[in-house]
């Protein structure tokens, strides 16, 4: 890590922040609210064609032949492409490039892409799809991961055999790591809880469907506008698959209507619009239907989890042993990382002295799973935090107290070698305890009403840059104009979380420019320095630090120029509130615009770059860097539920979420992230279910049947900010976009136990499962055996 990567956590100009820490509008808020913001599907270009995708009606089949003759004859059809037109494989993780833009001889789930048509309009393209004749040889399909694991044939993917020569079968990734002697620790523990848990599949359901527009210029420049959260990786993947130099590929992310991890892979449509534009010489747009978005999926992996956790009578944990079967769906996507994350991200905020996880991701013939908000770690967290509740009960300890006794502390290291810097978990616990009136109410509410607690941690980016390289993970460029305007160029993808606004706040803080005089140009690979993208909750931490870095370089020039003019020490010059001020002479005050002009006269055209790279992190073992983050956020949730014993319906009435985000650069946006996370997580408990039926068909690929909550279904949410001021974050900031989702799910599960005494361990908690568990309890069977 270079000196540029750390800036201290204090305000740039003495003790107080002027912009940071205050509520501000998002810089794009009005454009979005008034409808003037241009999303990908708003783009209309002269001569633009519309493309549609032919998809597989079979869950697992070889393609024998494709006949496009009739379709090509249809008037208005300009081009049709199939797998042979785009034969080069790709994958967001370079080690597992098992995807093709269009099926390369084989389809692996119902909805897999087979061909694409460009036509004068969508109706013509749709009509052409029906004229394409595909002959399939249908293969046995796997919908149950246990079955896919047990049977190696037919293999969903051709894979190299293992080193010992044995077949990988349908295993996508296997990771087994052990830290300390888990068996011995469990054997000597005073209590051990062991149970099976399961987490079903859920998806992102971003309101904007995926869309891409491709253009290919006469001089060979490919431009793709896409609703992506990873512009840089899309550029690389397009170059690879279309066999173009990266310098000839430009990817632009217009305004984006939500992503949540669902737009962090390169997708078929980006390659198809590019290829079709190259063939036809005309711009080509493809907008997926909602149904197609469900097939693109990359949502939360279903997991079957077996956990054993031990503790001693003093409440100290001794060991956790986890075995996890991960249903990956049909492609790898981020699955390698998911498999590691399913184990690596559990080792805080409570200390686990010895820990083992054994995670296996298998391929099945279902839409591919990937990263959804809280990638890979929401499912294990669900199991583990219920185990803590059970241990607390066995030891007759308050579950908050149990967590306090096991808190890992600050500036420490986890059992798996992750460096922990700031850690505000204890304050998070204090806050939810106070705000929920926990002490007076936990265990004491009337029958049918209960409180539950849970905690979690999450990464603020990782030092694993997906493709190995020594270059910065985030870059920023600033351009300063004589008018007083500053333009920020960032590769960071603003997917609604407010990353572009965050850049503006930092520039305003550092250079004293009014927010209204700052423009942010983001996520255009021709204009902006590389940022790796909006995933792993990395943007505020990394792009924020890069922005400070760039600002400090400029500030030096500006202050030097002003100090020379005023004949004062550089340290006497301050920039703030749109002005340059002199600390030693109140008469010396000029608009910051004039300061820029003096600096331009003194140093020539003004501009600067800034970068960030992570320090070397992680355990010294294979996979030790996956999940290693420069800083971790911490969260505690308390949830209050009511359970209707007659209907089995669980209603989450209220959630208190305290989140340690390091420093809230804009508390309004942090609270928005907390609320959105709680909303999304709570929905996974009782409502959302990305189910695949017995035919391998998505059970309801629409927003009618995939039930995301309405405002009426959303609990009251109290968003509570804890600021631990991280030593390495930008002004001490850490992530806030994903952490606050994790522990709401087990908190609700634990609250159900407090309400009616049933342990629900298998998501989603449908009313039928609740009734079955209540009946089991009545019958005196061990609670929670219902599945």
């Amino acid at each position: 890590m270079a000196a540029r990567d750390q800036h201290g956590s204090g305000a740039p100009w003495g003790a107080e922040f002027k912009v940071v820490g205050q509520p501000h509008r998002k810089i794009d808020g009005l454009a979005k609210a008034t409808g003037s913001a241009v999303y990908t599907d708003d783009i209309q270009l002269p001569g633009m064609l519309h493309a549609k995708t032919l998809r597989s009606p079979h869950a697992h089949a070889n393609i024998v032949s494709i006949d496009v003759t009739k379709a090509l004859e249809l008037e208005g059809v300009h081009a049709i492409i199939t797998g042979t037109d785009l034969p080069i494989n790709y994958g967001v993780i370079p080690w597992t490039p098992d995807e093709h833009a269009l099926a390369n001889g084989k389809v692996r789930f119902i909805g897999d892409e087979v061909a694409a048509v460009a036509a004068i309009d969508e109706d013509t393209a749709n009509a052409a799809l029906k004229l394409i004749k595909v002959e399939y040889e249908v293969l046995e399909a796997f919908f149950d991961p246990r079955e896919a694991l047990a049977k190696t044939e037919p293999a969903i993917h051709e894979q190299k055999p293992l080193k010992d020569g044995s077949s990988r079968g349908n295993v996508s990734k296997h990771v087994k790591l052990e830290f300390g002697d888990v068996d011995a620790a469990l054997a000597s523990s005073d209590v051990v809880v062991e149970h099976d848990y399961s987490f079903h599949g859920t998806t992102h359901a971003a309101i904007e469907p995926h869309c891409a527009v491709g253009q290919y210029s006469a001089d060979g420049l490919l431009t793709v506008h896409s609703s992506t959260q990873i512009t840089h990786y899309v550029q690389r993947a397009l170059a690879r698959v279309l066999e173009l130099p990266e310098a000839k590929v430009r990817v632009i992310q217009p305004f984006l209507g939500g992503a949540f991890g669902g737009k962090s892979d390169p997708f078929s449509l980006e390659f198809c619009v590019a290829k079709l534009a190259m063939i036809t010489g005309r711009p080509v747009k493809m907008l997926w239907t909602r149904e197609e978005v469900f097939y693109a999926h990359r949502g939360r992996h279903p997991m079957q989890l077996t956990y054993r956790t031990g503790a001693n009578k003093d409440g100290k944990l001794t060991a956790t042993d986890a075995k996890i079967l991960i249903d990956g769906g049909s492609y790898s996507s981020f699955g390698l990382v998911t498999t590691y994350y399913s184990g690596q991200l559990l080792t805080g905020p409570v200390d686990i002295p010895t820990y083992r996880f054994d995670s296996t991701r298998v391929f099945t013939n279902k839409p591919p799973c990937g990263p959804k908000r809280g990638h890979g770690s929401v499912q294990p967290r669900f199991a583990f935090e219920i185990q803590l509740d059970e241990i607390a009960e066995k030891l007759n300890l308050d579950p908050i107290e149990l967590r306090r006794r096991n808190w890992q502390g600050e500036q420490t290291k986890t059992v798996n070698g992750q460096r922990i810097t700031s850690n505000g978990f204890m304050q998070c616990l204090d806050l939810v305890e106070q705000q929920s009136d926990w002490k007076a109410r936990y265990g004491k509410l009337p029958d049918g009403r209960g409180l539950g607690v849970a905690g979690s941690m999450y990464i603020s980016g990782t030092n694993y840059p997906i493709y190995p390289n020594d270059m910065p993970q985030a870059g920023i460029q600033l351009q300063v104009d004589r008018s007083g305007r500053v333009t920020v160029f960032t590769g960071g993808n603003d997917i609604g979380q407010g990353s572009s606004s965050m850049c503006a706040y930092i520039v305003s803080e550092e250079l004293g420019v009014d927010l209204g005089d700052i423009r942010v140009i983001a996520a255009d690979t021709d204009l902006c320095p590389v940022d790796l993208g909006a995933y792993s909750s990395r943007v505020t931490f990394m792009v924020g630090n890069a922005t400070i870095d760039a600002c400090r370089k400029l500030r030096k020039q500006i202050c030097t120029a002003v100090a020379e003019k005023w004949e004062v020490e550089v340290a006497a010059v301050r920039l703030g509130g749109g002005l340059a001020l002199c600390l030693s002479d109140a008469q010396k005050t000029i608009p910051v615009r004039e300061a820029f002009q003096w600096a331009e006269a003194r140093f020539d055209t003004l501009g600067s770059t800034g970068s960030y790279n992570t320090p070397t992190l992680g355990g010294d073992y294979r996979g030790g860097t996956i999940g290693a983050s420069p800083a971790y956020s911490f969260t505690a949730h308390a949830a209050e539920v009511t359970v209707d014993r007659e209907t089995g319906r669980i209603t989450c009435e209220k959630v208190w979420c305290a989140h340690d985000c390091g420093r809230a650069l804009n508390p309004t946006l942090v609270k928005g992230q907390i609320e959105g996370s709680v909303y999304m997580g709570a929905a996974e408990v009782t409502m959302e279910d990305h189910g695949i039926n017995r035919f391998g068909l998505h059970s309801g690929p629409s927003l009618l049947d995939y039930r995301i909550p309405t405002s009426l279904d959303t609990p009251d949410i109290e968003a509570l900010i804890v600021e631990s001021i991280d030593p390495e974050g930008p002004y001490g900031a850490k992530e806030a976009g994903e952490g606050p989702l994790h522990s709401v799910i087990p908190a609700i599960a634990n609250a159900v136990y407090d309400a009616v005494g049933i342990r629900l361990r298998h998501l989603p908690f449908t009313p039928g499962k609740v009734l079955a568990a209540l009946e089991e309890k009545e019958a005196g069977q061990p609670a929670g055996t219902a599945s």
Binding site: P57, H58, T289, M687, S699, L704, T710
Partner: protein, 339 residues
């Protein structure tokens, strides 16, 4: 987004013109009122139609009118108005409550009472895109020969899913259909046919114009109960309408219970009046009889795996919702809905 298929849109300016068009095109035409049911179904290519006859420009078949002892509602009256009309709330609370729980607020602004009566049946195997249905191999209701709900089933069991239907049945509503050949008024019970492909006896060419309710006095009590996952938008997983009329001594004079989202047609439970008649409000006997009605309904109602939601759970909720809705009617606390 999904595209509409190509069809000719007709916008007749009079009922007569609409009837003539419908008579001309018959089964090749569909009537468009609010469009909240028709348009998604067209996008899913569930109908082979070349003509859509919009009623948007027809005068005079919206609103409420007292006609003697009847309250007449124009078929094109938006559900939002049915839900909030003071006369409906007073004389037909079950209908107002049912209308208030149809879909979401925007749908109720567009969707009409007539449209909800004429709502097509629903099933998890049919209300899907053409691509999805083709991958499935289609089903009995459209394009296929197999039922995926009942193994070996030869009759479509797609479920009546209209919230207002059971309410109108308990209220003894009648429906007026107009066609090129004349006007026909039928009790709503006669509309239903036990066939999910088309669960209505209305003939091609007939347009529903009026829904007629007998006026009821202060002794009338009604309520609607709706089971669904979300607090809005969703179709019923179970719908239950009840009517209890008392006499001057606060004893039950007449009663009815009707349920929907079971099978192809809404079900009026026979024998409810006999169980409740003569029993006094607040008496133990009435409490016991309400439980007996709940159990009777449980016996008669057998939800299938047609619409989403576990059928065993839906069946289990039948007595719960019948009991709760009867109670709500007497207590004036309807609708019975989890939010």
């Amino acid at each position: 987004m999904l595209r509409l298929p190509t069809f000719q849109l007709h916008e007749p300016a009079s009922l007569k013109e609409a009837c003539a068009l419908f008579a001309e095109h018959g089964a090749a035409a569909k009537i468009l009122a609010g469009g909240t049911d028709l348009l998604p179904n067209l996008k899913h290519e569930i109908y082979d139609v070349d003509h859509v006859i919009s009623l948007a420009k027809l005068p005079g078949i919206t609103g409420f009118e007292m006609q003697g002892h009847d309250l007449v509602i124009g078929a094109l009256t938006p559900l939002a108005q049915v839900a909030t009309n003071p006369n409906i709330q007073k004389h037909a609370p079950a209908l107002a409550q049912a209308a208030s729980l149809v879909a979401g607020p925007q749908h109720r602004q567009m969707g009409t009472l007539g449209g909800n009566v004429m709502l097509d049946t629903r099933c998890q195997w049919i209300n899907q895109s053409y691509f999805w249905r083709e991958a499935l191999g289609f089903c009995l209701k459209k394009d296929g020969t197999v039922c995926h709900v009942v193994e070996g089933g030869k009759k479509c069991v797609a479920a009546a899913s209209n919230d207002t239907a059971p309410a109108l049945m308990t209220l003894g509503a009648s429906l007026t259909f107009v066609s090129a050949t004349g006007t026909r008024e039928i009790p709503i019970e006669d509309l239903w046919v036990a066939d999910g492909i088309n669960n209505k006896s209305a003939r091609p060419g007939e347009i529903l114009t009026e829904i007629r309710l007998p006026l009821r006095d202060h002794t009338h009590h009604g309520a609607y109960g709706k089971l669904r996952e979300r607090g809005s938008i969703d179709f019923p997983l179970l719908g239950c309408a009840v009517r209890i009329d008392l006499d001057d001594a606060d004893c039950v004079r007449d009663a009815a219970v009707s349920l929907v989202a079971l099978q192809a047609r809404p079900l009026l439970i026979k024998g409810v009046d006999a169980l409740l008649q003569g029993l006094k409000l607040g008496s133990t006997e009435l409490d016991q009889a309400i439980e007996a009605v709940a159990q009777l309904a449980h016996k008669k109602c057998k939800p299938l795996d047609n619409i989403p939601g576990d059928k065993d759970y839906r069946r289990r909720m039948v007595p719960v919702y019948v009991r709760r809705t009867l109670r709500a009617a007497l207590d004036g606390t309807g609708p019975v809905h989890h939010i």
